[in-house]
């Protein structure tokens, strides 16, 4: 990883373990290869090749309508590429049974729905769906995993509370617990901090950092560039449906790159707390 930005339009060669020429290191468990993404006839991205590096906390940033949520949806198999493919564990994600995918890849969408009157424990337990079957009833293993997921997100004390009585931050932690109960090595989070106040945003991001350190590969779409620079170990900056820059925040968050992606003249200083890049818009 060298320059502050480079073109994303690298042509894929490697058939299965990661598209060619993206990042060095471990093979990517999940990547989009030459993908055309859009809704109906409107293409948001064309020829997009992006890989999710194993073991990293990847954050996708970019201005509104840059295609970052669309990319996440495609990686989560919610949107089928019109051309190209998304590859999970070496195979086209759409060629795999969706329940099998759900045991590898967990997804927290932007606005999940909590049914009226559901308790925290019941909601988290619904994350066990891909591990259950018609004949395989609720097991001690399910019970243990749900307990651990609630422990990890610090919602154990809320177990019997109704989800609708919780604060925004607590609720988001409960949803993350639900996805954790899915026991997937990969976690995809679509704007997990939107609608939260600053304290709860930090709480959720700290939790994401903790999950990353415990060995999971995370991908999140975030709005706040400074939060992204602080928490991500790998940044993907998008604009107009294309990747403009990607790499470690310390390497790619430069004044030129920020201006190129967001049209925002700025200075970059060192975050006094974490020594990560801090973007200060020019007055």
């Amino acid at each position: 990883m060298t320059g502050p930005s480079y073109s994303s339009a690298s042509v894929a060669e490697g058939p299965n373990r990661g598209p060619a020429g993206a990042t060095e290191g471990a093979p990517s468990p999940l990547f989009a290869e030459d993908a055309t993404l859009g809704y109906g006839r409107v293409a948001i991205s064309e020829g997009l090749t992006v890989e999710v590096p194993e073991g990293e906390f990847t954050v996708i940033i970019g201005p509104n309508a840059c295609g970052k949520s669309t990319l996440l949806k495609a990686l989560a198999r919610m949107l089928k590429p019109a051309a190209g493919r998304v590859v999970l564990d070496g195979k086209d994600i759409h060629s795999q049974p969706t329940r099998a995918v759900a045991r590898r890849l967990g997804l927290l969408p932007q606005s999940p729905i909590a049914p009226d009157g559901i308790t925290v424990a019941d909601l988290v337990a619904r994350g066990r769906y891909p591990h259950q079957g018609i004949l395989k009833q609720w097991s001690a293993e399910d019970e243990r995993v749900v307990g651990e997921a609630m422990e990890a997100t610090d919602v154990t004390d809320l177990a019997s509370r109704g989800v609708d009585e919780l604060s925004g931050g607590q609720r988001q932690r409960v949803w993350i617990a639900m996805v954790l109960a899915q026991q997937t090595p990969l976690l995809l989070l679509d704007e997990p901090t939107t609608y939260l106040d600053i304290t709860h945003q930090m709480e959720v991001l700290d939790l994401c950092g903790k999950l990353h350190r415990s060995g999971r590969t995370l991908v999140a779409v975030l709005h706040d560039l400074n939060q992204a620079a602080r928490y991500a170990t790998h940044l993907i900056a998008m604009r107009d449906g294309a990747v403009v820059a990607e790499g470690a925040p310390a390497e790619i968050v430069t004044a030129e790159a920020v201006e190129k992606v967001f049209d925002l003249p700025c200075r970059i200083i060192e975050d006094p707390e974490t020594a990560t890049p801090l973007v200060i818009p020019r007055a």
Partner: protein
Amino acid sequence: MSAITTTAPPAAQPGRGRRVTGLAVLVGVIAVLAVLSVALGSRAMGLSEVWTGLTDPASDAYPVVTELRLPRTALGLAAGAALGLAGALMQAMTRNPLADPGLLGVNTGAAAAVVTSVYFLGFSSFIGTLGFAFAGAAIAAVGCYLIAGAASATPARLALAGAAVTAAGFAYVSAIQILDTATLEQMRFWSVGSLVNAHTVPLRLVVGLIFAASVGGVLLARPLNALALGDATATGLGVDPRVLRATGIAMITVLAGTATAACGPIVFVGLVVPHIVRAFTGPDQNWVLPYSALAGSVFMLAADVLGRLLARPAELQVGIVCAVAGGPFFLYLVSRRKVARL
């Protein structure tokens, strides 16, 4: 940790014992209503007379009990379960608290198809009309969903589209009956929803179909629990919402189509029952679905018995009693500021 019990299914359920008890109570209520349903009618019987009517082929009561009242009771139980479960499935599938096979035109669609088969094609066998009922139910269900805007349908739009489909279907049924009063005289009671023709219906087939579709419907509880969290979350959990909805519509078609072919279009059972059930069981479909089937039986049988008591020695058709009881409840649901999310 400590807040989680080790009981199955999902963790921390202090209400599980209560819900098992509730099931037992429902079964008990069904038994009582079934006895009442056999005993009451234009010729009321005491319990001992019911018993001899059931057991002694030589008694006066035997033909009444075995040929009229038992089939009527069995049909009421089966049709009530079908409509209650179909309503619960529909509400879960659409996440729409106003969904009901009666309100969304499914029952009327089935009725319109049945009338068509009898009037234009001269079908007289139940099995022949049953196929038409399924087709009518499926077309109305899918049509209503598409008219309301498919995946973007709001509860209100779906209810409006359903009202339109129901009105059109009902007008069609009425028009045909006015055109040909003579041959359709026998359908007069059927078209408002009635159990009086139970003895003319192949009961084994009806009960068998409803039972099979009920088992299929209840098995959808887990994926429906995932779907309750939103289409996106459900996809993440490994549920394909399109496959699930298609399966659900197939079950609803068999349930509502069979019930309608046998008893005519009955509204509100599928709307009212799941709402009352959820207030007791909470949102877990593993409980909501079987409860809705049993409570549907209770609702239907109670309405039929009530109809026989209110207008003695004649009787009020069960469809009318259901509408009178369910109408105000529907208005209450619509007028509530925040309609419950499912």
